[in-house]
């Protein structure tokens, strides 16, 4: 048999129908639904008199525009959402899941959280499955060996109605990192290094498979961070072959198989790896030892430099489009060529988002924060756990106290300050050291300036008032 990549194996196993032009009808095993990209899809079903084909393979949870302040009052009553549009979207989701019989995690339930934190945490995401969600960071689930990708609302409707999608196969891209990571270097720095290397469009049309001992050595949560940001390099999905760490992570999760079914599943999952000699359409190699704690300077995640670096000079870019983009980015960011990133003052710190809000992220940040205080220049510093269960675990470890004693606000789970869809925003012209995934113009609020970095680096920025080299604080 022809050797196949992991991607090709998962793809082949999900082909319902192959058309002559190569387009395939692909079966979708898992569909995550949230409040922002689903109302028009349910409306479409209603208008056409269609039902949800497999509610049992669907899971809904609100995350994007839920405020991260208290959700219930002292007597346990649910507090209303002040923003009428946000409240309406949540109400629409709740009405839709009730009408169509879709399983739903209540906004006040301890299991509530960001879709991409909830899926793996509940064991809804499993190796070898196809996972979709109306959100581009669905790529995250690839950390468990699932073929996972973001879709638009029309596709959400298509999956609800048919449990399938019409797709053309992607090209395959091997991103290989060998060697050990340096001191103070996290999965987020690796993700930024990959994006810096590939460029924001470098992975377009491709599915990435992360290979090599640097990725094998990563924890499942680190892999979730890396896979999550595949989309920032243009790749719709990023895959890690499942291994013992994956199985250990999933065992005992509420929606994962149990008993004999678990043993049978693990046996199947062990086959989920790229065959030796299977060719990739492209391969990129990164020497893990060369990756430093990093920070972005511009308005695309590809605009990344080591923390010891300086803001580049637009004139140094050979490509005229890049030169123009860099000029516009520096104007927006209020930075000058040659400026040291470590000299740039920040007013806000955000630790959270589907990229970096899991327990290991909070532990990493707390390690730096412990015994220190927010720099007086910091106006607001948020820690937003990715789910109620992450929050509970962190509180059991007293991490909430570490953050609160330093001056951080400890919030309820949600997408928060990643995308300016809820009350957590960065004011115009102000600067945020953020563990989220996008530094686009206006992403964290109109006129907001974002510097992407790891949780430990965000913690370092919080206690120093600037992007600082976390290695000096550890």
């Amino acid at each position: 048999m022809t050797p196949r990549t992991l991607y090709e194996k998962i793809w082949d196993a999900h082909v319902v129908e192959r058309r002559t032009d190569g387009t395939c009808l692909i079966y979708i095993d898992r569909h995550l639904v949230h409040e922002v990209t689903s109302p028009q899809a349910f409306e479409g079903l209603r208008a056409a008199g269609r039902l949800v084909r497999r509610p049992d393979l669907t899971l809904a949870v609100a995350d994007h525009n839920l405020p991260t302040t208290a959700r219930i009052d002292a007597r346990g009553r649910r507090l209303p959402i002040a923003d009428p549009a946000g409240a309406e979207q949540l109400a629409a989701l709740e009405a839709n899941v009730a009408e169509f019989g879709v399983p739903y995690i209540q906004a006040t339930a301890p299991e509530q959280g960001i879709v991409h934190v909830v899926g793996p945490e509940q064991g809804f995401t499993l190796p070898g499955t196809t996972v979709v969600c109306g959100d581009s960071h669905t790529a995250a689930h690839g950390a468990l060996g699932a073929l996972a990708f973001g879709i638009g609302t029309s596709e959400v409707e298509h999956v609800l109605a048919t449990q399938t999608l019409l797709l053309k196969p992607s090209r395959t891209l091997e991103v290989r990192a060998d060697g050990g990571l340096g001191f103070g270097v996290s999965a987020k720095d690796v993700a930024l290094a990959v994006i810096g290397r590939l460029g924001a469009a470098g992975g377009t049309g491709h599915v990435i498979e992360y290979r090599g001992d640097a990725f094998a050595a990563m924890s499942v949560e680190g892999r979730l961070t890396v896979a999550n940001m595949s989309i920032e390099a243009g790749a719709r999905s990023g895959l890690f072959a499942p291994d013992e760490k994956t199985f250990a992570y999933l065992q005992g999760r509420p929606m994962a198989p149990a008993g004999a079914a678990w043993d049978a599943a693990v046996e199947r999952w062990r086959e989920l790896r790229t065959d030796e000699d299977a060719p990739f359409d492209r391969s990129v190699r990164i020497d893990a030892a060369t990756i430093a704690p990093s920070v972005t300077w511009g308005t695309s995640p590809e605009d990344v430099v080591p923390i010891t670096g300086v803001v580049p000079d637009p004139d140094d870019f050979a490509d005229p489009a890049k030169r123009e983009a860099a000029r516009a980015a520096l104007a927006y960011m209020g930075l000058s060529p040659g400026e040291r990133l470590q000299d740039v003052g920040v007013e806000h710190v955000f630790i959270g988002s589907c990229t970096n809000s899991r327990i290991e992220d909070l532990r990493d940040a707390a390690r730096v924060v412990r015994g220190r205080r927010l720099d007086p220049r910091i106006k607001q510093a948020l820690v937003v756990p990715g789910s109620g269960l992450v929050k509970r675990q962190a509180e059991a470890e007293r991490l909430d106290r570490v953050f609160a004693e330093a001056g951080f606000e400890w919030r309820e789970p949600g997408c928060s300050m990643c995308l300016a869809m809820n009350p957590d925003k960065v004011p115009p012209g102000e600067r945020c050291a953020s563990t989220s995934n996008r530094n686009f113009v206006g992403r964290q609020g109109p006129g907001a300036r974002t510097h992407l970095l790891s949780p430990a680096m965000a913690a370092a920025a919080a206690v120093t008032g600037r992007p600082a080299d976390v290695r000096e604080l550890l």
Partner: protein, 187 residues
């Protein structure tokens, strides 16, 4: 979906690489449960700047937009395609599109035309003064100066665009195959 065969008219000569979906439609406008009315909010951050193509009356209501590499990168929000359609744009020409945006555009009858950067540069120049034509029948983009640029498009997408086909209805015609898949795999 309304079938689309040709798009002809003025074209916003936007240029710019990496126009992301946050720029096309800001998150503040995603809190809607409908599809209409997003056009006035499209490109808000660009519209705030001086001398932008969206403020130029010459391009008001233009049915085509010409952009740089990696148009529509970022979030999966279909609101970006809805906003473009709502402002009257029926075709976008760029050297490349993000995968998710290209799919969303197609599902809303918005034609995404991929042409090499030098051709896009030529079209950006022409578009400042003259209309552009996009023809799905002949798969060409033309200008009043006799330029004629052939583009490629996925045959299935082209057929759906030209026929105004409902993809869900097409897939539901394969319901027996989906049933069979579920039985075969025990899903």
């Amino acid at each position: 979906m309304t079938p689309v065969r040709t798009v002809h008219g003025r074209a916003y000569p936007l240029g710019r690489a990496n126009v992301d979906t946050d720029v096309i439609i800001g998150a503040a406008h995603l809190k809607t449960t409908g599809r209409a009315g997003l056009g006035v909010h499209a490109f808000e951050t660009i519209r705030r700047g001086p001398g932008n193509v969206f403020a130029d009356p010459a391009f008001a209501g233009a049915p085509i937009l010409i952009a740089g590499d990696n148009f529509g990168c970022g979030s999966s929000r279909e609101h970006a395609a809805w906003a473009l359609a709502d402002m009257g744009v029926q075709a976008v020409i760029a050297p490349s599109f993000s995968d998710i945006f290209a799919g969303n555009a197609f599902k809303n009858g918005l034609v995404a035309v991929v042409l090499p950067q030098p051709v896009v540069d030529r079209l950006l120049e022409v578009a400042r003064e003259q209309p552009i034509g996009v023809d799905l029948e002949t798969m060409t983009v033309t200008t009043p100066f006799q330029d004629r640029f052939a583009f490629a498009m996925d045959p299935f997408r082209r057929e759906c665009l030209m026929g105004g086909l409902d993809e869900i209805a097409l897939t539901l015609a394969s319901a027996a195959a989906i049933d069979a898949y579920e039985r075969r795999t025990g899903t």
